[in-house]
Amino acid sequence: VESIIADKKTFKYAYFPGCSLKSTSKEYDISAREVASSLGVILKEIPDWTCCGATPAHLTMHILSIGLPVKILLQVKEMGISEVVTCCAACFSRLKFANDIMSKDQLHREMVSRVLSKKYEGEVSVRHFLDVLVNEYGIESISKKIVKPLKGLKVACYYGCLLVRPPEVTKFDDSEDPHFMDDLINVTGAEAISWPYKTECCGASHSLSNTEIVLRLSNDILRFAKESGADVVAVACPMCQSNLDLRQGEIEKRYETKINLPVLYFTQLLGLALGAESKNLGLNMHLVNPFKILQEKGLL
């Protein structure tokens, strides 16, 4: 029944890539579009979108941290689409926060309308791509589209902070023990392993300003994933991916250890299972090479 509903329903969303997906995480954008195209999900990019302000706006100027995301939500409203999808966990968090506060608080509405000279009352629904795939398209419907099961691949699903916390705002999965990504990875034929560091912080935006903390936190995450038997780590956030992948060589030097654990976006793994070619998923764009393990498992 679910697959009939999925086939009949039109999945059309406004798409907010965010800054990272146009630079350090292009492979996330490429693979998300590839997955969407395979499943018939329409992602219509917001024309001329601008930055959501990310963590620096949140940490410094409150009205700016609400105003910048509301500008984007107003653009979505002008497109005549009621839902916006983003792949970046940080953008998701900022858009969701702004939307939540604008739908509830009159004082914020007045302050933001003075800044933007436009009115907004939280009319747009903010979704993460993982949420759309699992809860709108449906696991059952996705399972029917799998043509190349990722058999024998053990995956540590890493959610990080911003996707699941604070739960009263993100309203996304179980904040203590999330399972959406695990469910999706299991349906690809791979095995989502049980491990304790699913929602630990990687250091996120401190990558440049406090690198030592990022190295320590990311080392813990990678070490636990490796010791739990993972072949690869799956992520849904460009900052988590950058910290765990780009900084992995530095972590190995700093802690005199060998990790060599590829860190892939969940969209890349799903794309592979849906039969997409590796070049269309940006698998060659990571610093820790994922080809060796994928070839060993006979998946490429």
């Binding site: 350090t24 930055c51 620096p56 100027m61 700016l64 302050m111 800044v115 990571h286």
Partner: protein, 114 residues
């Protein structure tokens, strides 16, 4: 926590060992105000220069270039005037001081403290 942090920022109070974090936030926001979208090449270069660590992450740069992970030019945004207007008005509404980059004096101070 967020409120205390913002008050501290407005008053110019920084933790002794955490000066790089507010500096990064300033450089990041100036970048958005200027380009509309994050131009990472400028962010990394400016932050490294102002934090007194110009050669930080230089080993990563060629690897990122080869993988097309760093854009050489900023992306053009048509609504940049609107963004600058938001920054101007948001500063007024929240009574924050105008964002400004770290001064030369602070830069020298940072360098001597290393």
């Amino acid at each position: 926590m967020d409120v205390l942090r913002r008050f501290a920022y407005r008053s110019g109070v920084y933790p002794i060992k955490g000066r790089n974090v507010p500096l990064f936030n300033k450089v990041f926001l100036r970048n958005i105000e200027k380009y509309g979208r994050l131009f990472e090449m400028s962010l990394i270069g400016t932050f490294n220069m102002l934090s007194g660590t110009p050669f930080k992450d230089t080993s990563l740069a060629p690897k990122m270039f080869l993988r097309h992970k760093i854009n050489l030019l900023p992306e053009k945004v048509k609504g940049i005037k609107e963004i600058r207007g938001i920054f101007k008005k948001a500063g007024k509404v929240s009574r924050a001081k105008k964002q400004s980059l770290i001064t030369i004096g602070e830069l020298i101070h940072n360098y001597l403290k290393r």
